[in-house]
């Protein structure tokens, strides 16, 4: 496992927070995913060994929780809330707008590798819906016009990186 030294330090710091090692499974999965971008089979087995568990015990978690992914995604992660309050304010149209801009469909990596767009369930900001999270940033009141602005911004950011 090619984890960064900081990641390994954080992993070693988090395990003693719990009287039972198994509790550190979720924190370790988050740390590894932040480090590697996704959870590989190697990561599952590494975490299992680290916590003295069987690989199935970790695999069960990775497939249960939607935030963990087993394959890499686009460089930017666009999560559109689809639950009732945001849907009432047009979330499905917002998502379609993003998909159009990046020429991709939900759940896939866009052809230029830049984004993955997903529906997620209620993000707990219903009063300012439709709500979108791009990576770790929350964006509020994202109607199709605002989605268009955000998409343009993302593309500009990607061009700067190139």
């Amino acid at each position: 496992m090619n984890l960064k030294p900081e990641t390994l330090q954080q992993i070693d710091a988090v395990i003693p927070r719990y009287p039972v090692k198994r509790s550190a499974a979720l924190p370790l999965l988050h740390l590894v995913q932040e480090d590697q971008g996704y959870i590989s089979p190697e990561a599952i087995e590494w975490i299992a060994r680290k916590l003295e568990l069987e690989p199935i015990n970790i695999y069960e978690l990775v497939t249960f929780y939607p935030m963990f992914r087993q394959k890499p995604i686009g460089r930017r992660h666009i999560k559109v809330c689809r639950t009732l309050s945001c849907a009432l304010l047009g979330a499905y149209h917002t998502c379609a707008e993003f998909e159009k801009h990046f020429n991709t469909y939900r759940g896939e990596v866009s052809p230029d590798g830049e984004v993955t767009i997903e529906f997620v369930e209620c993000l707990a900001s219903c009063g300012t819906g439709p709500v979108v999270m791009i990576d770790e940033q929350l964006h509020e009141k994202v109607d199709p016009a605002r989605a268009c602005e955000l998409a343009v911004k993302l593309k500009a950011e990607s061009a700067q990186r190139a």
Partner: protein, 450 residues
């Protein structure tokens, strides 16, 4: 216009207020904790009992009673788990406390821990609040550095550690025993009760309190002003304030903190939130998070209810219903998490239900038969109605399936996924019967909900 009472949300979105310790101290922060650790723990529990505080996470269970049920004789360590998983659709209050006023919650946590002899607390925060988790870690570190958290706080022998634990996108982790299983590193399958009541066999099979973020903030205020004074706020058996979160088809959606029961649904939606969107009329409202039964505008409710010690008549239109736990339960819904979702006459109720059913089918943990199979079946029916062929009998079938789930499951998710279907079909049955015809006649730019 009914006045808000910003007890918990006093500083939310206040210009100049920041989420660091220095700012919190400037506004009198941690004074209550200092007073609390000089008192007997039993006294603090007593204050909470006298206050009549009911949980703000959704169940509305009396907090003082919950603490009293703790098994204090087992010899095992007692844990506090803070439920910061806020995932009930329509709810967005704990978010603000965590991001903008975390120390208020931490003070509430420490007071609760001191009162219940807890030496270790975990904050289970939903994975989708990554910034919130960082803010909490910083706040706890600040508090630890100031001897307000950790071993031996404020010069006393009492100590308690708080750790932040991030979830990863599962609504069922908001269920207290599902949360505990998740915290233990397992699949978050809620436990059967009996025998696994958290107060007796909770985290690591030790006695555990699970409390909501907002509830713990109320604890701080209760200890500050005294339980009796707190009980005078709000209405009998529905004391204190609560944060109502209004979303959907109103002019001014957002958070509003009122004394419980001192604002009616009509006042909230028409006066506080500015009424419906231009050219629209209110059609339906879900008053307590999407798990609550839907209420139809135009409904009336009549009967007798207990006020104090007397039985009193009530004859309410929907707008007259006070926003408190008991009244909302009386008229066939619930106060729940305080998430008020408003739908106007642009909404097709079949499609709204399809959206809700998709949520529950997605979030069902899959442990027990009725919820696992029933939630997906209901989603498939409403999905077929919207995207395929709707039959007139589908509404009755939906209700029948929902009736087979509620009351038969391991946890309250069974009720949560059944109540929307039961109430939507019961109150808007005609829309379900006539959906196929209505779909053909629908405007092409109608909003897509599923």
């Amino acid at each position: 216009m009914p006045e808000q009472r910003r007890l918990i949300f006093q500083h939310i979105d206040e210009p100049g207020y920041s989420n660091d310790l220095a700012c919190y101290l400037r506004s009198g922060g941690y004074e209550t904790l200092k007073k609390a650790v000089a008192r007997k723990p039993e006294e603090l529990i007593d204050e909470v009992k006298k206050s009549g505080l009911r949980g703000r996470g959704g169940a509305g269970f009396p907090c003082g009673v919950k603490w009293t049920l703790l098994d204090r004789k087992s010899g095992k360590p007692i844990y506090l788990v803070v439920n910061a998983d806020e995932s009930e659709p329509g709810t967005f209050k704990d978010r603000y406390i965590i991001h903008q006023d975390p120390h208020q919650m931490i003070e509430g946590i420490m007071i609760t821990c001191f009162a219940n002899n807890v030496k270790q607390a975990y904050i289970y925060i939903r994975g989708e609040f990554p910034e919130g988790a960082r803010i909490l870690e910083r706040a706890i570190a600040e508090a630890r550095a100031a001897n307000l958290v950790g071993p031996g706080i404020l010069g006393t022998a009492y100590g308690c550690e708080i750790y932040v634990h991030r979830g990863a996108g599962a609504y069922i982790c908001g269920e207290e025993t599902g949360l505990i299983e998740s915290l233990e590193g397992k699949r978050p399958y809620p436990r059967i009760k009996p025998p696994y009541f958290p107060a007796v066999l909770g985290l690591y099979q030790c006695p555990t309190i699970v409390n909501n973020v907002e509830t713990l903030c109320h604890v701080k205020h209760i200890v500050a002003m005294g339980g009796e004074a707190y009980a005078k706020i709000g209405t009998p058996n529905n004391t204190g304030t609560r944060i109502l979160c209004v979303s959907g088809h109103v002019q001014r959606p957002g958070y509003y903190e009122f004394e419980v029961g001192k604002v009616t649904l009509g006042q909230l939606l028409h006066e506080v939130c500015g009424g419906p969107r231009p050219g629209r009329k209110f059609k339906a409202v879900i008053p307590g998070g999407s798990s609550a039964k839907v209420l139809k505008f135009g409904e009336r409710y009549k009967g007798k209810r207990k006020v104090g010690v007397e039985m009193v008549d009530y004859d309410w239109g929907l707008e007259d219903v006070p926003m408190d736990f008991d009244s909302l339960a009386l008229i066939g819904s619930m106060g729940g998490s305080g998430g008020v979702i408003v739908m106007d006459d642009s909404v097709n109720m079949v499609e709204a239900l399809a959206n809700i059913n998709a949520f529950y089918a997605h979030e069902s943990c899959g442990q027990c038969t009725p919820c696992r199979e029933g939630s997906l079946w209901m989603k498939k029916i409403t999905g077929r109605m919207v995207h395929g062929d709707a039959r007139p009998e589908d509404g009755a079938l939906l209700k029948s399936v929902a009736d087979q789930i509620a009351g038969r499951t391991i946890c309250a998710f069974g009720e949560a996924c059944a109540w929307p279907t039961q109430s939507f079909v019961q109150k808007f049955g005609d829309e379900f019967k006539g959906y196929a015809a209505a779909k053909k006649a629908a405007a092409p730019d109608a909003i897509e909900l599923v």
